[in-house]
């Protein structure tokens, strides 16, 4: 059975992840053991640096945060949007987290979500996470806006 880091590394090299790179939805910037930094591109061309903390990958949910170039989780590093967007993305300090049953920090705010084990519904967990953030930043109904 593959270790968490072997599984993570394998998934990062998958065709699905590479397709997203080729489509310029995201770019893998750095991997430091179980921590992965991914540059996400929004529909308006703005980019956001997403830190994915993947301890226990495969069994545990990923903890995602938007961070500055210095890898600091500050409000200015987070994408913003309208009321719909703020249902998923809490972009105002001190509550900075992605409110989604597949995110470890989101689960921290909604203890009942842990039992759902929703992060296990994707065979490629990190692709499932990145594809969700891609939708947040690109599908109009999710409410992302650079000007909000």
């Amino acid at each position: 059975m593959a270790s968490a880091i072997e599984l993570l590394t394998s998934h990062l090299g998958s065709a699905e992840i590479q397709h997203g790179v080729q489509q310029e939805f995201w770019r893998l910037e750095e991997q430091v053991e179980m921590r992965v930094y991914v540059r996400m591109t929004a529909c308006d061309g703005a980019t956001y640096l997403l830190e994915l903390e993947c301890t226990g990958y495969g069994d545990e949910p990923i903890a995602g945060r938007f961070v500055s170039e210095k890898h600091e989780c500050v409000s200015s590093a987070w994408p913003r949007g309208d009321g719909a967007f703020s249902q998923w993305v809490k972009f105002d300090a001190p509550h900075l987290f992605i409110c989604w049953p597949e995110d470890r920090l989101g689960i921290g705010h909604h203890g009942d979500w842990r039992g759902l084990q929703a992060w296990k519904r994707h065979s490629n967990q990190i692709y499932g996470y990145l594809d969700f953030v891609r939708k947040l930043l690109n599908v109009p109904s999710f409410g992302y806006s650079l000007t909000v």
Binding site: E16, H19, G20, Q23, E24, F25, Q87, W88, K90, H95, C99, W100, P101, G106, H109, H110, W113, A118, D131, F132, R134, K135, N138, V139, P140, S141
Partner: protein, 159 residues
């Protein structure tokens, strides 16, 4: 001089039109004279038009566009699916996927509000998403693409 415009699909020329042009004519004018005979819209042809290695740019004149007067317009086949319907259509190779999205909504009469929140996926309704700002590109055979709802995502409200 005579200008020849070839329409290329796959590896073959499927249509050709010739027309008289002067060196000072704009490319848009020459294409507008030939488009009807090719059965295509002028704007579609201009989205992918080359002369040798040179690509079309607006405002250029015939004398400034390549050394030969044989131009090429490339098209590629997309097999588009929306819900239970499907249709094969050919698009300019250099057009973006956004054109496929809009064409599909028009063709299948998808309401505007719904159309804006659909996305293109490659191969199947759950295939990888396509970036609509990127060029369609040239595909072997007919590339299957689905226009789908991105799907609801549960989330917590408030906090």
């Amino acid at each position: 001089m005579r200008v020849q415009i070839d329409v290329e699909e796959g590896n073959g020329i499927v249509a050709t039109a010739e027309c008289e042009a002067s060196a000072e004519d704009t490319i848009e004018l020459v294409v507008s004279n030939a488009a009807g005979r090719l059965g295509l819209e002028v704007e579609e042809i201009l989205l992918d038009l080359s002369a040798g290695n040179e690509r079309f740019e607006r405002g250029k004149r015939v004398s400034e566009f390549g050394s030969e007067h044989r131009w090429k317009h490339r098209r590629t086949c997309i097999d588009i699916h929306f819900e239970t319907e499907s249709e094969e259509h050919r698009f300019p190779v250099s057009a973006t996927w956004a054109r496929v999205h809009h064409w599909t909504c028009n063709h299948f009469k998808v309401p505007h509000d719904l159309c804006a929140n659909l996305e293109l996926r490659l191969g199947s309704p759950t295939g990888p998403a396509l970036n609509e700002k990127k060029e369609i590109g040239q595909h072997t055979g007919c590339e299957t693409v689905w226009l789908v709802k991105p799907g609801p995502e549960p989330n917590g409200f408030g906090d």
